[in-house]
């Protein structure tokens, strides 16, 4: 391979024909009563493919934007990449340490203080406690929430939680960073800071997968984009091109919906 100088050989992420199937019957919060009911009344299993045949690569140093309408499978894709759910079909290989910024601060324990949460989050991510202690000042400084860092998390505003989450996920020096729509959190100053941090990470030749609805982010920060629709890859390539396709598609979907509504209204009139 000619691209020497990167730490890892091969792509950071290599996803091959990924498929994720959800069993809708299982995802309901079941009780035994429901199970008996289902046993007595066998219904066709309600299965649903959230992702189908998704193949792509992300090289180290690349940042890939994943865009698409709601329910297209963007978040599911991130969950698979983070190893949180297993693909039902195909496989994905990731080279390097993964850090996910899926839903900022969602995993926090509200009874514990900010510092305790940082340490606990580190332990969940599998980072050595000595390593985490070393990084603690940096994380606290970046989150910049002042004396609140020693207060229980239930006293935090949602913006403060997001800041803490962002600084934890990016301070752990990930090789592959997965980001889901979180960049628009916090106030203006923090948004600017996190923007710089992401830029810094991209420059440090790390792989990034970014799920967002903010097309400005796609075109300014990503060098490739992937358009997902109903679990399928519809387009992949230059961000500007993919964004154009996406906008055309959503425009068309909007017009179709409008036409449909119009038709229904006309039917009512006639």
């Amino acid at each position: 391979m000619p691209s020497a100088g990167t730490r890892f050989e091969g792509p950071a992420i290599d996803a091959h024909r990924l498929g994720v199937e959800y069993n809708l019957r299982l995802t309901r919060k079941t009780t035994i009563r429901h199970s008996f009911y289902n046993l007595l009344q066998p219904r066709p299993p309600t299965r649903f493919w959230a992702l189908r045949d998704v193949t792509f690569r992300v090289d180290h140093g690349e940042s890939l934007a994943v865009i698409g309408p709601n329910g297209a499978g963007k978040t599911t894709l991130l969950l698979v990449l983070a190893g949180i759910i297993q693909p039902s079909k195909g496989h994905v290989e990731i080279r390097g340490k993964v850090s996910s910024l899926l839903t900022l601060g969602a995993g926090f324990d509200t009874e514990l203080s900010g510092v305790d949460n940082i340490v606990l989050a580190g332990a969940f991510m599998g980072i050595d406690s000595r390593e985490m202690e070393r990084r603690l000042p940096e994380i606290i400084a970046f989150a910049d929430i002042g004396p609140f860092i020693d207060a229980p998390l239930k006293t935090y505003s949602s913006g403060m939680r997001a800041r803490l989450g962002f600084s934890i996920a990016t301070a752990v020096d990930p090789d592959v960073l997965l980001v889901d729509e979180v960049l628009a959190t916090g106030d203006q100053a923090f948004r600017e800071k996190s923007r710089q941090r992401i830029e810094q990470l991209i420059r440090a030749a790390k792989g990034i997968v970014l799920v967002t609805h903010d097309m400005n982010w796609v075109t300014t920060f990503c060098n490739r984009a992937l358009l997902l629709e109903e679990g399928h890859v519809v387009a992949e390539g230059d961000p500007a091109d993919v964004v154009t396709i996406y906008q055309e598609h959503s425009e068309r979907a909007r017009l179709e919906k409008e036409a449909e509504a119009l038709r229904l209204r006309l039917q009512g009139v006639l």
């Binding site: 100088g5 035994i32 990731i94 606990l120 969940f124």
Partner: protein
């Protein structure tokens, strides 16, 4: 791809010969493969060991949380078993009347381990479900969660030993003998048995949220069926003519455990090592089966939660 110079902290750059062996490769792959039983069990044990730090933090978090909102705080760890003791002593003395000599100590030797067991099981049942949000955010071995619940029970048990020793030194000084040092030995057997049950129930509760409701009552029934408030001898007198019932009664792990605790704390004699060894062996098999069960279900957790 253009070459990019990076400030690489590990310094593992590899100009020239791209050999896998020379680079720090951290590869993770997720696929739809299904490994065999033994590998899953070994993996589960390795998960628990490699994430012992996480377990420690979880235990510590649990301990700082309980009592954080009360006036007396951690004093409750000591006070709680004592108050429970008072309730049982008053209850049994009033209703049954005749009790074993030094009845408070007799009951306390059973209440302490039971409190650990029941609180560990109750915690473990919700341990995976209550961490739903972090499970959807970070990939980590979920088996650490029920293991941590079991371990925080141990800490409470250890604190419960303080009032036990106080009680003994103040009121039952003649019963203080060296066999008290065998408490940890019995506790280890209980720990392994508790872990097996904790692991299984925490996984089942992800799919059937009724487990908590059932367990609350099942645990209470189990407690009254075990020789906690009464002695095994009293039961034997009943089951003399019914060997089957007597045999089934002997199968209850808490018959063995309570007898052992009572031997070392109350009677000051050696426990039945044979019974403990049998229970230990059975518990180890159960732990293996439990881990296998858990690991098989684990991939589905994030989808179902």
């Amino acid at each position: 791809m253009p070459t990019r110079e990076t400030a690489n902290p590990s310094g593992a750059s590899c100009y020239g010969t791209p050999r896998v062996a020379t680079t720090v490769q951290l590869r993770t792959s997720y696929g739809a493969a299904r490994p065999n039983a033994l590998r899953l069990i070994v993996e589960g044990l390795a998960d628990m060991w490699s994430r012992r730090q996480l377990a420690r933090y979880l235990v510590r978090a649990e301990l700082t949380k309980t009592g954080a909102n009360t006036v007396l705080g951690n004093v409750w760890w000591v006070l709680d078993p004592l108050l429970q003791l008072v309730v049982y002593v008053v209850f049994v003395s009033l209703i049954v009347g005749r009790t074993s000599p030094d009845y408070p100590l007799f009951v306390f030797a059973a209440i302490l381990p039971w409190k650990w067991f029941s609180s560990a099981i109750n915690d473990a049942i919700s341990s995976v479900v209550s961490r739903e949000r972090i499970i959807k955010q970070v990939h980590f071995p979920k088996i650490v969660l029920p293991a941590a619940s079991t371990l925080s029970g141990v800490v409470h048990f250890a604190f419960g030993l303080i009032p036990l020793f106080l009680l003994m030194v103040l009121f039952y000084r003649d019963r203080v003998v060296w066999t008290l040092l065998l408490i940890p030995l019995v506790a280890v057997v209980q720990l392994i048995f508790t872990l097996a049950l904790a692991v299984v129930l925490s996984a089942v509760n992800v799919f059937y949220r009724d487990v908590g409701n059932v367990a609350r009552h099942a645990l209470r029934l189990w407690f009254y069926l075990s020789p906690a408030l009464y002695s095994v001898e009293q039961v034997r007198r009943f089951t003399e003519n019914q060997p089957t019932i007597g045999f089934v009664y002997g199968l209850n792990p808490f018959t063995v455990l309570f007898e052992a605790y009572r031997a070392v704390i109350y009677d000051g004699v050696l426990p039945s090592f044979v019974a403990l060894a049998v229970l230990l062996g059975a518990s180890m098999i159960l732990v293996g089966a439990g881990i296998y069960f858990f690991k098989r279900l684990e991939p589905a957790f994030a989808k179902v939660l």
